[in-house]
Symmetry: C2
Subunit: 190 residues, 2 copies
């Protein structure tokens, strides 16, 4: 019992990635789709912390939430913390349209930022961050992953093209869950 944690999310892809990182470390991820209020805030860390604290008040047990931002240099950080909403409306096609006039690789730099907010009853949330910097591709590629994975590439290979195992070695979300898992094994079980 003590090595399990409730992950509040409606996204099955995120659950799969969390399990891939946490299961080998002896941590059981239990999905809960109860939802939580997400702040409009440029800082995804505050969004995750606020969400985790809200859920704890409702469920009265230790939980994690995860929030992802995508920051594209040439677009002044857009879509930033609103990555999910922007994906649901204008999608990858919209991002590529906005990048149509953006030239070489340096100008196409983008950073994924994943923040896990952990909270348990009676404490304030703590957060674990993972980031990865790559480039926005010129077209969609690959059939794996989800969300922006077809247009986010590292060394010319899109997240959606590299397979789950390879993505989980370098992705923002893998890094944040590695940090969380390491901490949870030492301090989190209670």
């Amino acid at each position: 019992m003590t090595n399990q944690i409730i992950f509040v999310t409606g996204n099955p892809h995120k659950v799969a990635e969390a399990v891939a990182i946490c299961a080998p470390r002896g941590i059981t991820i239990v999905q809960n789709d109860c939802g939580y209020p997400e702040l409009q805030d440029d800082d995804v860390a505050r969004v995750a912390a606020y969400g985790a604290e809200h859920v704890v008040n409702r469920l009265d047990c230790a939980v994690i939430v995860e929030d992802t931002g995508l920051y594209i240099d040439a677009l002044n950080g857009f879509p930033g913390p609103y990555a999910a909403y922007v994906y649901d409306t204008i999608g990858n096609a919209g991002i590529l349209t906005l990048m149509r006039d953006t030239g070489g690789n340096d100008e196409r730099r983008a950073t994924f930022r994943s923040i896990i907010g952990y909270c348990k009853p009676g404490m304030t949330a703590i957060t674990f961050e993972g980031t990865v910097t790559g480039r926005i591709a010129y077209e969609e590629r690959g059939a794996g992953g989800f969300g922006y994975d077809p247009i986010f590439e590292i060394d010319g290979v899109a997240f959606a093209s590299m397979g789950d195992d390879a993505k989980n070695k370098v992705s923002h979300r893998a890094k944040s869950f590695e940090k969380f898992a390491e901490w949870f094994i030492r301090h989190g079980k209670a």
Copy 2:
């Protein structure tokens, strides 16, 4: 004293529009720039209600907040409730780029939605809505207004081209403040 209301916003243009509607009705708008948490929520009414209730807990007096969304049909409702963030990052130029392949006027339909959240100590927030439907222009026009006003047009005239008085006769924000003022005069003074 009883005919004044605190308007929590950092946007001086919104204050000016609120004053233009409320002052002739005997209501004094007092700006407060203390900020409040904005939810990520597709429904700006929930954003405004949540914000108003938060501010009341902090200031312990009756307040209003105002939240605006811009919903463009051809972009599946984008930028929606994140109009402010999207304006600050990709701006009107970004919206026009996204609309580059969108054709005739019917496809360019867009709706501005303004919601005022009113709250006073010991009550839940109530909201007042104003909407206006127009079209996204093919280019920026006019030097008035703020935000998306240069690319939002009604009958071919951009908000930024029509002058403050004309805009205040038809705008979403004028309508929400008219509804609020009418209610406040009858029920809000206390």
